[in-house]
Each structure stands twice: as structure tokens, then as C-alpha cells.
């Protein structure tokens, strides 16, 4: 039963629970919160189960409504999508677990229901993007996640609303570009099913229209994943949004778009033609490389911790783009692995900033001082661990994605990339150690009359800690992950 419906279950679960939220709110005030993280946890379990099933038994295809593709909509669960489903479920479960107090503070206790409903719709959109095998269905889920995303990022302060509005405009352009691309493809292939379209394009090849479609799809998804020249919406949004929203969107949102790009680029659109004739992978590659350096440099220049992390996200997306653009097995593995690693790292880091805000510390880097280490030792330790992983020191998770990306760069004989990856690690070190120095070594400047604050609630500490520790787990488990889940998914190179 579960195995048969596996591709649809995570999406449906999120959707139905989200639709239940108004009712749940009537039944009990804490219920939306409890339901939301429990749902995410269940989805993570489903993702894990799916991984176990599909890595040995092959992909599970699910014909919605019993209409076999290309007539109906098809959902697909394969190791890669299950892996993403798992990541979405697991990361969001802890972020949501962490969120109760911040949500009530940022959006008001009365509106917690709407926040959780939006979050679940956001996650439903993410898992839909990951699980669908239909181009238009992907658009629908893209928009579900986008709408819910604008809501969770725009609630709270007016500043958040403003940056969320700017994001809405640019995000809608992205989604619309994607839709135009789909329209062009549809007019040349007559199909929307990914497998079908891939087969047709394989035969028909790239004409002017399909080329234009590819460009539109890449630009559209590029906006969604904040690839370099299209990234400018990101820092404002991440900085101004409520802490929980950022922790939910930052690790997953851009990654899911990257996943869609990965899927489409390698499996739907004609890969050889993209590679050789359009050289679109090279474009992505160099944009990614420039993004790495630019994002890191901008991150160094920031004083607001959240803004710094946002720019660091731009850089990290650059890594994913580089891995994607390398078009080699190692690059692909590196990109996929980095998606997961970075999701966990960023979630952890943004939870740390949420903890800081909760304790009234603010997020200005200049305002941080060593008294925090005594007041919030756990949070500081988690920050340190995640920072080390971001820099990419072994044996934390961040090291290994870099490892594969380096391997891929050598495969391509691209020395520029090797240098970029190495230099960016150093730049990462610069901006993270700047913070670490303040946390651990700065003067102990706690004002004696500072108001005593209640201790951090244990769920907040726990969520942060679990995410931080899973970085080590991801690091040590990377071979297992790669050989069991990512390698079977490698498209033909």
C-alpha cells in the first residue's frame, strides 16, 4: 500500500495536513505546531523508506488518476527524489520543531495557524517539485511553493513585506519564464510528460524553438535558484524575513529549484545538444564560479549575520551550479551532495541566528561578544561546527562536496575552477572566523545591568544541535550516501 503510493504520499500528506490547519486551530492552540513538525517527520520517514525501496528496486512510477502517461500526470519516486524528500522532511521537521516561539513572536499567537498552513504548503510545493514527472505539474507546485514562500517570508515586519514583494515580482518572472519554456516545448513536442518529452527531443533534436525553450527554462529556474546575476532578490529577503521563515526557505527553496534544473538539464532536455551546441552547461559553470567568489566577497563585507549568511548562500549556490555545469559524474555527485549538505548547514546556521534573536542578542556581528559563549554555549558550539563545515574542513559534510567538485574540476582540466573552489574556502574561513573570534575570543562585555533572560527552550536547543550533529553524520556517511543513492542516479554522461 505505502510502497505503491509512495511517490504521491509526501505531497498529499503535506497538502491534506495544510488544509486541516483551520480545523486544527479550533481544536487546540498548539496543535498546528505539533501537526506540522510531525508531518515533516513522517515525510522524512517516507523519504527514508522510499530510499530503501528504490535504491534496490528501481524507480516507482505513479500514474495519477490511473491515467498512464503521457495522458495523465505521472509522479516518480527514484533514489534521488526520495533523497530530496527525505532531506526536505528532515530539515523542515527540526526547523518547525524549533519554530513555535519565534512564530508566535513574529506573527502573533493568533496567526500561528496561518503560518504553519503556509509552511506546510511551501513544503508540499517542494516535495511536489521533487516528486513530479510532469512539466506543467512542476509549474503548479513551483507556484504553490512560491506563493506560500512569499507569505512566510513577508509576514512579520513591514520590511519583510517589502522585500517579499520584490521577491514576488522577480519570482513571478522566473516562474513565468519557466511556463513560457514549457509552452514552447509543448508546441514542438505535444507532450508534458518528462520521459516522453525526453524521448521526443532525443529524436527531434534541438530546433530554434526548443533552444529558446531551453533558454527560458534555464533563466526561469536560474532566478528561482538565485544563480549569480539573478540572485539580487535573495539577500534582502533572507535578512528581513522572520527567523523561522528564513530557516525554512533558505536551506530548501533554492535547492529545490536547483534540483529541478538538474533533472531537466540532464534527463529531459537533450543533454548532448545542450552540452555541445548550446554550451549552456559552460554558462552555468562560469556563472556559478563567479557567484562563488562574488557571494563570498559580499559576505565578508556584511555586518548583519543574517545578511552574511544570505550572501554565503549565493556563494554556495554557485558551488551547486559549478557541479551541475561540470557535466561529469563527479561534478554531478558533488552538486547533489552539496545540495543536501548545504541545506543542513544553512538550516543550522539560521536556527542559530533565530536563537540569538530569541535571546535578544540581535544579529549584528559587531554586537556579538564572548559573553554569548557563556550564556548560550550550545548555540555557539553549533555555530562553530556548522561554520567549520561551511569552510569545508574534514571530516564535516562540507569537505566532501568540495572533494567531489574538485575531482570534477580536474576531470575537466579546469584549473580556474580548482583555484576558485580553494580561494572561496579561504574566503569562507575569513567571514566565519570573524564571527567565531567574536563569539569565543572577544572581550566579555556583558553589561552588568543587562536583563536576565529565560533560558533557551529545550526544543530550540535540541533542533539546532541535531542539525549540527548531522553534519558530522553526513560527513562520515558520505561514501554510503554517494554509492547507494547518488551513483545509481547518475545520468548517462
Amino acid at each position: 500500500m505505502i510502497a505503491e503510493h509512495l511517490p504521491a504520499l509526501p505531497i498529499l500528506l503535506y497538502l491534506f495536513v495544510a488544509l486541516l490547519m483551520p480545523l486544527a486551530n479550533e481544536l487546540g492552540r498548539g496543535l498546528p505546531w505539533t501537526l506540522s513538525w510531525l508531518t515533516s517527520l513522517t515525510v522524512a520517514a517516507l523519504g527514508g523508506y522510499g530510499l530503501w525501496l528504490t535504491s534496490s528496486g528501481g524507480a516507482i512510477r505513479y500514474a495519477m488518476g490511473g491515467w498512464s502517461p503521457p495522458i495523465g500526470i505521472e509522479l516518480v519516486a527514484d533514489p534521488l527524489s526520495c533523497f530530496f524528500t527525505f532531506a526536505i522532511g528532515a530539515v523542515s521537521a527540526f526547523v518547525l520543531l524549533h519554530s513555535r516561539e519565534s512564530v508566535e513572536r513574529d506573527c502573533g499567537a493568533k496567526n500561528a495557524m496561518t503560518f504553519y498552513a503556509s509552511s506546510l504548503l511551501l513544503l508540499a510545493g517542494f516535495s511536489g517539485i521533487v516528486g513530479t514527472g510532469d512539466l506543467f505539474n512542476l509549474y503548479v507546485f513551483l507556484e504553490i511553493s512560491a506563493l506560500a514562500g512569499y507569505a512566510v517570508l513577508g509576514c512579520g515586519s513591514a520590511k519583510a513585506a517589502l522585500s517579499s514583494f520584490r521577491y514576488l515580482i522577480i519570482g513571478t518572472i522566473g516562474a513565468s519564464f519557466y511556463l513560457i519554456g514549457i509552452g514552447l516545448l509543448l508546441s514542438k513536442t505535444g507532450s508534458l510528460n518528462m520521459v516522453d518529452v525526453a524521448a521526443i527531443l532525443q529524436v527531434d533534436g534541438l530546433g530554434p524553438v526548443t533552444t529558446l525553450a531551453v533558454v527560458f527554462i534555464f533563466v526561469g529556474l536560474g532566478i528561482k535558484m538565485a544563480l549569480l546575476p539573478l540572485h539580487y532578490w535573495l539577500p534582502d529577503v533572507y535578512t528581513n524575513a522572520p527567523a523561522t521563515s528564513t530557516a525554512l526557505v533558505a536551506p530548501l527553496g533554492t535547492k529545490v529549484a536547483a534540483y529541478a534544473l538538474l533533472r531537466l538539464g540532464y534527463e529531459v532536455l537533450p543533454y548532448e545538444a545542450l552540452l555541445a551546441d548550446l554550451r549552456i552547461f559552460d554558462v552555468v559553470l562560469y556563472l556559478g564560479a563567479v557567484g562563488i567568489v562574488w557571494g563570498s566577497i559580499m559576505a565578508i563585507a556584511q555586518d548583519n549575520l543574517k545578511r552574511m549568511l544570505a550572501y554565503s548562500s549565493v556563494a554556495q549556490i554557485g558551488y551547486i551550479a559549478v557541479g551541475f555545469g561540470l557535466a561529469t559524474p563527479n561534478g554531478y555527485i558533488g552538486a547533489v551532495l552539496h545540495v543536501i549538505n548545504h541545506a543542513v548547514m544553512k538550516a543550522c546556521l539560521f536556527l542559530v541566528t533565530a536563537n540569538l534573536e530569541r535571546q535578544g542578542e540581535g544579529t549584528s556581528i559587531k554586537g556579538l561578544n564572548a559573553s554569548l559563549r557563556k550564556k548560550m554555549p550550545l548555540t555557539c558550539a553549533c555555530f562553530a561546527l556548522a561554520a567549520i563545515s561551511m569552510i569545508g574542513l574534514p571530516p564535516t559534510a562540507g569537505f566532501f562536496s568540495k572533494w567531489y567538485l574538485l575531482l570534477g574540476s580536474y576531470d575537466q582540466g579546469s584549473w580556474v575552477l580548482v583555484v576558485v573552489i580553494l580561494v572561496s574556502s579561504l574566503l569562507n574561513a575569513v567571514y566565519f572566523f570573524r564571527v567565531l573570534e567574536r563569539l569565543y575570543l572577544g572581550k566579555d562585555e556583558d553589561a552588568p545591568d543587562a536583563p536576565k533572560r529565560a533560558r533557551l527552550p529545550w526544543v530550540m536547543g535540541l533542533s539546532t544541535l541535531v542539525l549540527a550533529l548531522s553534519l558530522l553524520l553526513l560527513g562520515f556517511g558520505n561514501v554510503y550516501i554517494v554509492s547507494n543513492f547518488i551513483s545509481p542516479m547518475l545520468p548517462g554522461f
Binding site: I388, I391, L393, P394, P395, F400, K402, W403, L406, L407, Y410, D411, V418, L422, S425, L426, A429, F433, E437, Y440, L441, G442, K443, F476, N478, V479, Y480, V482, S483
Partner: protein
Amino acid sequence: MTTDALYQTSMVPLFAVLVSMAAIPAILFSSRMPNLRESWSFLAAGIKFALVLSLVPGALRGESVGITLLEIAPGIGLSLVADPLGVLFALVASGLWIVTTAYALGYMRGHHEKKQTRFFCSFALSLSATLGIAFSDNLITFLVFYELLTLATYPLVVHKESPDALRSGRMYLGYALTAGLLFLAAAVWVNLRVGEVSFVAGGFIPEGAFGDGELKLLFLLFMVGVGVKAGVMPLHSWLPAAMVAPTPVSALLHAVAVVKSGAFGVLRVTGFVFGPEMMKEHGLDVILALFAGATILLASLIALRQDNLKKRLAYSTVGHLSYIVMGAALASPAALTGSLMHLSAHAVMKITLFFCAGAIIVHSHKTEISQLDGLGRRMPWTFAAFGIGALGLAGIPPVYGFLSKWWLSMGSLDSGHSLALGVFLLSGLLNAGYFFPIVIRGFFRPPAPDAHFPKGEATPWMVVPLCITATLALVFGIFPDFPLPFFEIAGRVVESVMGELPQALNAKEIGLAP
């Protein structure tokens, strides 16, 4: 190494690495009880040394023992294997840790340092990392511990938390992380081309896997990677800056563990990645020897001009590390023997000198050499120990340093790089030139009128350790295999790497070894 016939599975290297890590929680939990806290350090140091000692017989038979924990990258295990070279380094590091712990106890309390718990924790972690480096079986495991060492020593460098210390810390991190990244770049490259990263005595890169230019580039990447920690010029400037750290740190880490792990890395890379033959074939030995020779002379010259005692010692360290590098570069049996012996000899002697410097600083609050006039008469033991160390570093018998220099000199002859001999001799003179005045000032100059010397010696916690290390320097100088068989282990290493023992210069014939 894991494929050797002489390989056996054993958990001992793993335990040896972990024991000091295991001590960290204990140290943390007893942070309110300094005595208990320090006894944990002692206990860990003792166990660690005993574990390393238990590996010595195997090493003497040329065996390697160890274990692969888990696959850390496809086909690459996190492997800890104790081979003779690793045991040699581990022996030096863990042995001196015991002495240093005692000394640190005296120093930290005498100096009323803050945050001692963090200090001892980082110290223990550094030792774990150092042993991990010693027992790493492949480039990646090496890199893991190499980076861990960087992170673990960072809090020690910035211990004072003064702007000065922070600046030095940043400098140290900048150098060390860059080095790690270049090492990573090199390791990934090798992995891709050769499909193998495990160390093999005599080198594992097959001829022809890289073009000549590529090989030189790869070698440079590796050498910068390990050379930063080994303080090869022009990558040395973090080391004098790092002298802002408390003296026990300078003593153990910046004379033994950290910098030696760099030198050890040079030995590993030259002997176990490239191999002596490939080095000679492609002229890599000349490149390395040029840098090492220049470093030896330049560092000695700079040391001459330093008035700050610890800075002078630091530059002397820079010079002496390049002795080891030079030995590795010359890659003849005798030179390699000398290099390996200098690894332990310099450790014992330089730690003595740092201990002395620390005792002087804590007890008399003097940091400049020009302030030391006449202090020797107040602190005779300290200055006597300093004298022994200084003699050794200048290469004067019967101190241990003479032996290592002797072998290095012989090596420079039998490898045909006789210019290196000139370098060694000249630097010996320079060493004498910058060390002896300190001793002479201490004993024979009258104290300055405004000098306020304290009475008597420093605390026994500091004096006894420095006397022990000074004695060891003497004992090893006379019996290179007693009480620890450094010479014999070095012989095993040379045999495995070069395929032969140093032939004409057999130690036993000329009576330099029992």
C-alpha cells in the same frame, strides 16, 4: 601500507589517537578542580605514551599495524596505521607531552593564566591530531588530522586574546588553511590520476602518471601544503608571530608537534608519495634542497638579530626544521637517517630551550635577551639546561644534535650535494653565534643596575621538566638507542624507503652507536 605483508590489524594506533580526545570531557567536567583536571592530562599522556611504546617492538621489526575505520571517500579509508616512521614521530610527541604537561602546570599557574580548561582541552586535542598525523595511512586521513591540528591549535595561539594574539591567530589560520587547501588540491589530483592515495614506502606515484611539468606543480602544491607547518621560507612568518602563545604551547607545539608534523609531512610526501627515485629523476630534490638551504641560512641570520628570546628561538626553529627538510630532499640513506634523527633531536633540545625561556619569563618577567645579564647565577639549573640545548643545536658533541648533524653531513657527501655540507657547517657556526651569547650573558655579565631579579630558581614543576629534557639530550647524544631506540627505528624507516641501510657509514663501526 595496508597491503604490505608485514601489516597486521590492530586497534592500538586508534586508541593512541583517541586517548587524549577521551580525556577532553573529563577535563571539561573537572574544570572547577584544577588538580583533578591536570591529573586527567597526566593520565592521558601516560596512557598515550604507553600505547605508543607498545608499538615500538613491531616498528623495530619493520612491521606496521593499524586499522581502517570507515570509508571516508570512495575507495579511501580513514586508516590509522603505525609504521616505523609514524611510531618514531608518535614517540617523540607523546613522550614529550608528559614532560610538557608537568611544565604547563607550573607555567600556567605561575603565570596566572586564564581559561586554563580551554587550554588543556585544546592541548589534548592537538596531541590527538598529532598522533593522527603520525599514524595516517593515506593522504586524506593525513589531511583530516592536519586540519584538525590547525583548528585545535588556533585557540592556543590566541590564548591571550590580546589584539596581538588575535592578529597572530588570523595569520596562523590564513597560512595553515591555505596550506590545507593546496594539500587537498594535490591529494585530489593524485587520487584522480593514480587512483590511489595510500602511502607506500618508496613512493606510489608511478612514473609517467604525470608529465614533468605537472609533477613539479604537484610537488610544489604538496610542499606548500606541508611546508607551511614546517616553516620553510617563505612560508614561515606565522611561526615567529605565533610566539605570543603561552610558552608550553610554543614548546610542545611550535617546537615539536605542529612544526614537526609539517616536517613529518615533508618526509611522508618525499619518501612515501613521490619516492627518492622520482625525486632525483625530475630534479625535485634540488628544488626542495634549495628552499631548505636558503631557509637554514636566512633563518639563522635573522635569529642573530632578534632580541626577544622566544622570537630568537622561533627563528632557530625555522632553521632547524629545514635541516629535516634538507635531509628529506637529499634523499640518500645517510641524509635520511640524519633527518629522522634530527626530528627527535631537535624536539628534545628545542623543547629544553623553550622550557628555559618560559621559566625565565614566569620567574623573572624578562623577555628580552639584553635583560638577561647575570640572571644565570640566580637560575643556574635553567641556564645550564639552556647551555646543553644550545650546544646540541650548534652540533657540538656529546649532545644529541651532534649525531643528527653528523649523519646529515655524511648524507650531503654521499648524495653528491656537497654544497649542503657547507650550509650545515655554516649554520652550525651561526647557531653557536646566536645561542652562546645568551648563556655567556647569563653567567658572566654583571646584572644591570636596575634589574630586579627574583630569588632562586623557578618552581620545581618547571625546573624538573627542563632538566629532564636536557638530560635526555645528553643521554641520546651518547647512546642514540637508549632509553628509546630512535636510531634503530630510523634505520628501519631508511631501509623501507631507500631499500638499503646507510652502508659505508655504519654507525656501529665508527662507534657512534652501541
